[in-house]
Subunit: 310 residues, 4 copies
Amino acid sequence: MTHPPFVDYQAVLDQIHAEVQPLLGRGRVADYIPELAKVRGDQFGMAVVTLDGTVYSCGDARTPFSIQSVSKLFALTLAFQCVGDALWERVGREPSGSAFNSLVQLETEQGKPRNPFINAGALIITDVLCTRFVNPETALVEFVRRLSGNATLQYDDRVAKSELATGFRNRAMANFMRSFGNLVNPVDDVIDAYCRHCAIRMDSVDLARAVAFLANGGVNPWTGETIVDASSAKRLSALMLTCGTYDAAGDFAYRVGIPCKSGVGGGIVGHIPDVLGVCVWSPELEPSGNSMAGSHALERFTTLTGQSLF
Amino acid sequence: MTHPPFVDYQAVLDQIHAEVQPLLGRGRVADYIPELAKVRGDQFGMAVVTLDGTVYSCGDARTPFSIQSVSKLFALTLAFQCVGDALWERVGREPSGSAFNSLVQLETEQGKPRNPFINAGALIITDVLCTRFVNPETALVEFVRRLSGNATLQYDDRVAKSELATGFRNRAMANFMRSFGNLVNPVDDVIDAYCRHCAIRMDSVDLARAVAFLANGGVNPWTGETIVDASSAKRLSALMLTCGTYDAAGDFAYRVGIPCKSGVGGGIVGHIPDVLGVCVWSPELEPSGNSMAGSHALERFTTLTGQSLF
Amino acid sequence: MTHPPFVDYQAVLDQIHAEVQPLLGRGRVADYIPELAKVRGDQFGMAVVTLDGTVYSCGDARTPFSIQSVSKLFALTLAFQCVGDALWERVGREPSGSAFNSLVQLETEQGKPRNPFINAGALIITDVLCTRFVNPETALVEFVRRLSGNATLQYDDRVAKSELATGFRNRAMANFMRSFGNLVNPVDDVIDAYCRHCAIRMDSVDLARAVAFLANGGVNPWTGETIVDASSAKRLSALMLTCGTYDAAGDFAYRVGIPCKSGVGGGIVGHIPDVLGVCVWSPELEPSGNSMAGSHALERFTTLTGQSLF
Amino acid sequence: MTHPPFVDYQAVLDQIHAEVQPLLGRGRVADYIPELAKVRGDQFGMAVVTLDGTVYSCGDARTPFSIQSVSKLFALTLAFQCVGDALWERVGREPSGSAFNSLVQLETEQGKPRNPFINAGALIITDVLCTRFVNPETALVEFVRRLSGNATLQYDDRVAKSELATGFRNRAMANFMRSFGNLVNPVDDVIDAYCRHCAIRMDSVDLARAVAFLANGGVNPWTGETIVDASSAKRLSALMLTCGTYDAAGDFAYRVGIPCKSGVGGGIVGHIPDVLGVCVWSPELEPSGNSMAGSHALERFTTLTGQSLF
């Protein structure tokens, strides 16, 4: 990896903002959670935060959105703080090779999800948090507040309830894993906490700030607090790269080349080790579940800056 | 990624060499190809080549071995030179989520293999080479000679014949893909070329040299020849990271954190962008098909040097 | 099919009773429902009822047991009475080719179970009953009382509660099918009714009497009531033959050759068209989930009587 | 089963012949073997042979066609004559639950096909014949000549060659099973014999005569020769019922209710135990691979005659 002496991030963001315009308004917003379907599709925002705290942004970077599966990254980190490597006895670290909400592999592999970023894996993570915290969703909100430095963050109750009313597939998974003994808390409690932490609302700037600890060797750059040790920060980043963008992680690594985690709300967070955190948001999705304009923007970002892992 | 001002690679290799001794003689050598089963299991060699050409090595680093699936990396690069991105119409870029020789996904996905590093994908790559070259195995041997700077490299005819006599599963795959129209040359020709390029014999030093072009932005550091452009070098490296170590790629990225490609002969090649090429060899395998001592050695290497992607 | 002028059914049952003795006490009683695990394993009973009402029996033929999946036959018949062929839009008529509680095929086939005799299919059947009846389990108990002529039949509340407390896999299936829109009542209601009708207690004589309507062209031989028309009786019998004995239906048809439905309580009901109803019970199961001594007894029965479909 | 005192089979066939007219010319002829695609689609013939040798027929009942998978029934019978129940160590007796040419289950179940009527199973059967006979296809042709009483039967070399040139999927299966050690002869020999016996040409009258031994307790009614014992005849018939009509066997048993074996040439043979053999032919297929008009005709046949197993 070459560190160019100077990158004009603002110019890069402005160029990307202009380039993605033709992509907006042509895709589909996630509609499996009714509340999410109400979001206007043609929005786009992007934010970069370097480790010295400088923020660069464009478009709708200050519009809050439902972070959805991006919360899986924070939930994983918090669960990892709680139980460390014992976590890997209950959830794997391999790409799944199938859809994020598939039950097939769970059956073949006796209720152990492939990784913490597919729904089944995130339910196990949530189960860990339910065991550790009386109010796991509050614990997670507070954790994300500290990471982003924004003490006003909250989850959106309507979105949580909307998903609770329709999330039969997640209930199927949770019951299935419970039947294998890999989920221990009452299914309703786990689903409840899961839907709440997926419903956290954040904007792109806050998310870029919240992910920066991974670029900073596991240390929250805004507080100096060690979130995870440096080795674990590297390892969580590796997991993002191989598993963070649904069933398109291989393609994403190929095209973008930095660790990312996406959500069906249209957000994608990523980071470049030792350099920056980044977040892009645009609600219209590719069939893979990743933001269409967001994926393109990140590909352009690593190309224009010449910065990627490889 | 931090570039430490100085890493004493030789000391690191010597330490690793000492550390792996207790692992040797406890695993299983690949036996599905009868010729391979004859290799003594407790051997271990490792070599590092920095981009200035300095070679560091330990143990059996100059003992030649059958590179087997490591050849898939060179075959992919050569096929990519031939047809470029058109390659991805016939083979995907996603981790497979199943065993390297599984036919299940081929059936679900209509004969298009998940990636070029599983057997089915490598057969498609070989098919591309069969279309382009009269003697694809000769073309590949010559390509690897140029990459490594060793003009005496050759494939081992006995190993090739041994695999030819027993490779019914590869024949099954090739016929299966032919039934979907995704393989176009006669099955026997493709299998023949495939077995030959898997049977190339190289030692760890030569392999560390041969992979260095990927660390060097696509340019062969020993000749100055552009093998692939810089962007493609990054992308092939991303593919190694997500798909290069069989069904343990996620775990490998988590533990080792650099792009690698392994083979059942016990070899693993890898590289650190802008810094070095590396190869480790030890014939005893983990259930995943990766070298047991080799995997451990690479994990120690990135830990001890503090160098990885993340 | 030849109708032998005279078969001494009592002699046949006595011979079978003697023959199965060495099989008893060697298998495993179902233990996934804790209440069921308490049943003594070495019991065996068998009953034959010819269409004139004559009863032949041996062993523990008057010991009541938990009919479990045998109830799927009665539930299907009752649901078929309610909605007729419209039923087949929601559940298929094909052998599943996989375990009775697998979720894999449900995913591939968009929430439509393969047949009404696997758990997923029986949940759809129960959903139909939940829509039609305020108290579906009461409706089913009354239906079975009429079929058997025993007005005292009841379900066992402890068994139902035992399954309710542990049936996470059935809840997984029900939620999964609900996510596809193929299950319409609240999951808890469906599971509740399902566990209750599986927990009906009957003895072998009553079950042999209850299945006799299928041998009698759809007409309850004890009351003259038409349960289903003659064509439907044939068709339900065909379904029993191809799908009635879990994933061993092919083997069962091969060895036994009459339509049967088995349950993990160890009961198996069957019939010979125009001739008789039969029930055998022995709690120890084969890996397929069918009663071990019961399967053997039915094979001997069709051999010794010379009566089968073929 | 009721044996009506008299059925006017000719009237039944004439009525069916009239009824199926609107179905003809609307379906698709099999085209995966180029030679088969040349057959005119709107043909229809049907023949019934009672055990006293009386022949009833209608339409194109004397037009020869390619029997294709119907040959699997004769090949199985011949292989069963050779090795008896030892056969079931190499091939199962369960419905497959997946497409007739799927490789998925082979992988899960270690190269043992589900039943002898899917392609993989028929290749194992052919492998048995290759071991037993120097010219397996000649042995099978002679066997079918004896069963039908037509000494002029032959296989169609053009059809055999057409399938040989395109049968990559069958080659994939054969190599796959060879990799598991469940196929022992050279793959090319097995494929060769398989394509030849699928290419036997027969007309509906000859096929109805050839299947009659199964209705006659295993004894060839035209010669008195015992083909298989009575118990085996029943068992092979059970196998036809549960597995004989591709992935629609459950539906077929439900609608038609007699043991049948179909082929993509459009032929379906069946029998009613103790009564008759039947064959219907019409080249246009349902998506399941069974003849469209043929399936309908058999459903009407069992309804109009009141004769079925159940």
